[in-house]
Subunit: 466 residues, 2 copies
Amino acid sequence: MPAVVEHSVTTEVPGPMSKASAKKLDTFFDARAVYFVVDYDKSSGNYIVDVDGNKYLDVSLILPDSYSQIASIPVGYNNPALIEAAKSPEMISALVNRPAIGNFPSAFWHDLLQDGLMKAAPEGLNHIFTAQSGSEANELAYKAAFMLYRRRERGEAEWSNEEIQSCLHNTTPGSPELAILSFKNSFHGRGFGSLSTTRSKAVHKLDIPSFNWPQAPFPALKYPLEKHTAENDAEEKRCLEEVERLIKNWHCPVAAIIVEPIQSEGGDNHASPAFFQGLRDITKKHSVVMIVDEVQTGFGATGKFWGHAHWNLTSPPDIVTFSKKAQTAGYYFGDRMLVPDKAYRQFNTWMGDAARVIVCKAVIDEIRNKKLVEQTARVGDALYSEMEKLAQKYPDHVQNLRGKGQGTYIAFDTQSAAAVTSSMKRLGVNIGACGKETIRLRPMLIFEEAHIPILISAFEKTFSSL
Amino acid sequence: MPAVVEHSVTTEVPGPMSKASAKKLDTFFDARAVYFVVDYDKSSGNYIVDVDGNKYLDVSLILPDSYSQIASIPVGYNNPALIEAAKSPEMISALVNRPAIGNFPSAFWHDLLQDGLMKAAPEGLNHIFTAQSGSEANELAYKAAFMLYRRRERGEAEWSNEEIQSCLHNTTPGSPELAILSFKNSFHGRGFGSLSTTRSKAVHKLDIPSFNWPQAPFPALKYPLEKHTAENDAEEKRCLEEVERLIKNWHCPVAAIIVEPIQSEGGDNHASPAFFQGLRDITKKHSVVMIVDEVQTGFGATGKFWGHAHWNLTSPPDIVTFSKKAQTAGYYFGDRMLVPDKAYRQFNTWMGDAARVIVCKAVIDEIRNKKLVEQTARVGDALYSEMEKLAQKYPDHVQNLRGKGQGTYIAFDTQSAAAVTSSMKRLGVNIGACGKETIRLRPMLIFEEAHIPILISAFEKTFSSL
């Protein structure tokens, strides 16, 4: 086991150098959300170092949701395997000869996908569409669902002239009224389509026109789960009934639903496997595409490679989207009918970025070679046990502890998230809050047993001083 | 002057190796739009080499719009200056420690922008927002315009509780009805917002729900321009009047208009500087944000760094978006009111990609060091003269020649674009068509006088054989 580097914070946070650097940046680039300015050369593994020389254990999130680069650093800063991939001839070529992959792929593109992203494909989903962000991946999934819906309606008929003409004017029938159903408190991105399904916070949505799409309630479970079985079952049943009611009664057809395995930005809200099986049953019954948004849960943090693998669904989701830890983005799917009837309907100039897909392959290799999913499951269980002890000792500060058996995807509510995060940062732990008063842990996949006491000790000091 | 490598095509196009390779890819990645499979290691400068060993002068476009990687390769395949940037320590770090730039920039990020993208900033626009695609850049510009519109309406008032609650339900007043005006035949991307402003072809838009936003006519000029002055002036006046009428009478407020300096995907449609000055006057008069989409025209191809620099506007556009040749994407703006009132409203996880911004800086340096904009203006003038001669000799095949004084951004209409492109490809010129029967030339910025005879000779052979 590698030695655990000690964290150390010697200035206020952010320090004077960070403040000065952010101020300079702000002259031409909005820097109001800058938490601190980073020295990436000195950052390593689980530790992030700022330009003031402060070193933090990077395990959680800054308001509103920035931890480990908003949960997007999978295998540690300056990971040697990633550095090797970054120096490879394939990377140089991908960087300087950026291909329009849809028209002019290299022969290497096939092998890269086959040996990388396809090795990580969720069970039953054997096609891929590459993209550049989680938001774009979700929108591409919506477009696939809309085209499938209309393809089924249209049958074998060719596009009508009326459809072709009307779509250029953004009117029906070419631009149909169709909807995507999402859940209260969900986060699915910030494009005009994805933002129409995001329901977490006004700061993302205010003043932006959106589609009139339905929002279903997401189960509000009570903790500890074992003490509220009947209530929680009833709550999930209520939510499922509302999903089905909305699908049946919405003013226009619902082509797809999108759901996160764990609502992350919305405050780490969980639901049971039975709830998700219920969603799968409803979507099958009504021929609605089921999209699972694994932008934050994918790539191992829940102790399985994909969060939805915890559900043991009777049939796989139709589409699974990914980004963040994957270092690139896109979606997996199984049904070839989700490939549109004609080329160029689901298309764009770059179709993702081969350079980022190369990094992604290195991440997948590293996860598999080092058995990091298994490690995350094991370390997560140990960490959860320690958090349970803290919850007993500081019941006012650790409420609704959740994420048992979900790797290191652990969260709790607290009285003042701001006070906790501020204290933790002074103690050298890069941590933050989400939802209203929620602390979410998001260590990288290389977080080890040895890091647990550091984290727990910082919590102890914080809670005893509040 | 470097030696001009001879092109050579020895198989049908695409060749057997390309076909086999694309077929293999298609098992898990939609490969129907693959034109040929490329050997990027063997491609160099203006020449692209496929896996069958065919070598093409890469100057134009494959249907529907793929040439030089859909106009996204600026300074040639395997450009040594870009290779150097790709091997730099800063690149390695950007690749392996992908920063969430909005929260945790490195100190290097400021310098990279200052010495790169900001050196290329259009006159009067001294702020930047980085993104990953032209489509995303345009959507971010729309969001900025919508937030500005509501900010002006709201004045100093705080967000109301009704606004905060209603936006989470996608209803007014929090999700207001506001519009972006775009032009007939325009192309602005494929996201749900950007696609609502795209008006070029049904293949992009059919079956996808869109916003009820207005479309104005774009001038349909007659060529040669000098013979149709009065008609063209009247046509531009008509279009400007329609823009103003739509802004005044649309069912909801128009927050911004978006326009391409040359409508590219729509068929290389030009308008005069007076037309664009007219747009600037109308947008100023009605406090509508003017967005210039330079995704395809930016970075030198028109013989100026920015296409809108040809207009000599009395005041700069409010927002200029870019992508493609920039190898990254984003938008420039001048008015600090376009920065939203609060942080995190215009935000996302990665906020672009520092790795691609490093490549972009190398592109800008190369353009400046080698005076490639000046070269493109000069070579474009010479190429246009040769094309004029062809137009006189083959009036049936070269109609409505356009792009005079616009660098190498030259296009013409023809009777059968498919026949021309097919013949040209056999003759070793990677060329294609757009619009209905339009051939667009899109050489890279490193296209030289020495390449002109090769291109003209292939056209000669093609036209004389049709």
